[in-house]
């Protein structure tokens, strides 16, 4: 897929663990893992908003477009 999810990078920058972020955002660690591994087909604006709020970043910091 040409949309890359850089959640790992942002988590490392903020020194936060996956399960902490999952708790703050209110999603399961399994779903966060789906998002991190790029298996997700879509992301809700509400989830994106919660992630940006928790990591204090912009959507562009998490999502990146790379030509196939």
């Amino acid at each position: 897929m040409s949309i890359i999810v850089n959640l790992d990078v942002m988590l490392e920058k903020r020194n936060m663990k996956s399960n902490e972020l999952a708790d703050i955002v209110g999603i399961t660690t399994a779903n966060l893992s789906i998002l991190k591994t790029g298996k997700a087909k879509a992301i809700r604006f509400s989830t994106l908003e919660a992630i940006c709020k928790a990591l204090d970043c912009q959507p562009a910091d998490i999502l990146e477009f790379v030509e196939d």
Binding site: I34, L35, A40, K41, A42
Partner: protein, 175 residues
């Protein structure tokens, strides 16, 4: 809650029909084998008064052809209800759209189509026998139109189900 009760009732009815059709198919196979290899008098009452003795006396091969068609319809009907039971065993109301269920519905539609085609052949063959003045004592209606209509509807339902599976998996992968 109401749907759950209806499903349980349908499951029980399907089991009863399946057992009934298995008995019918088994009885037809055994009685036709008996009439062919042991005693041809058995052709007078093959199953619930099905009398093909005239046909047997006219020509044994015509008898074999007719009984083969009747047996294949009975066996396919039993197999169709076996597939219906399989759906009920794996059906989950919370997560109904599974690829397995969609494939089973599609399989049922193909089996129904086969039954319909065999029923049409049986009808025409029976009519042809009557024109040759052979009394077969079978009604010339195997319900081909109804089964073919059901096959068409089931094929559409299976297609919708497959689309539902795709939508459900997409929904599950939306975070």
């Amino acid at each position: 809650m109401k749907t759950k009760h209806v499903l349980i009732l349908m499951k029980i009815i399907s089991w009863i029909i399946f057992i009934g059709l298995c008995i019918k198919a088994g009885a037809l196979i055994i009685s036709s084998c008996v009439s062919l290899f042991v005693n041809h008098e058995a052709a007078k009452d093959l199953y619930l008064g099905l009398d093909l003795s005239n046909l047997y006396e006219y020509d044994k091969w015509y008898f074999i052809a007719v009984i083969s068609l009747i047996i294949s319809i009975a066996v396919l009907k039993a197999y169709m209800f076996y597939l219906v039971i399989k759906i009920f065993l794996k059906f989950d109301l919370k997560n109904p759209f599974t690829l397995n269920t969609a494939n089973l519905i599609s399989k049922i539609s193909y089996v129904a189509l086969s039954i319909g085609v065999i029923a049409i052949i049986s009808n025409d063959y029976n009519k042809w026998l009557i024109t040759h003045r052979v009394e077969t004592h079978i009604l010339c209606d195997f319900g081909a139109e109804g089964v073919l209509f059901m096959a068409g509807i089931l094929f559409i339902v299976s297609y919708i189900f497959k689309h539902g599976v795709k939508l459900q998996s997409e929904n599950e992968l939306t975070i």
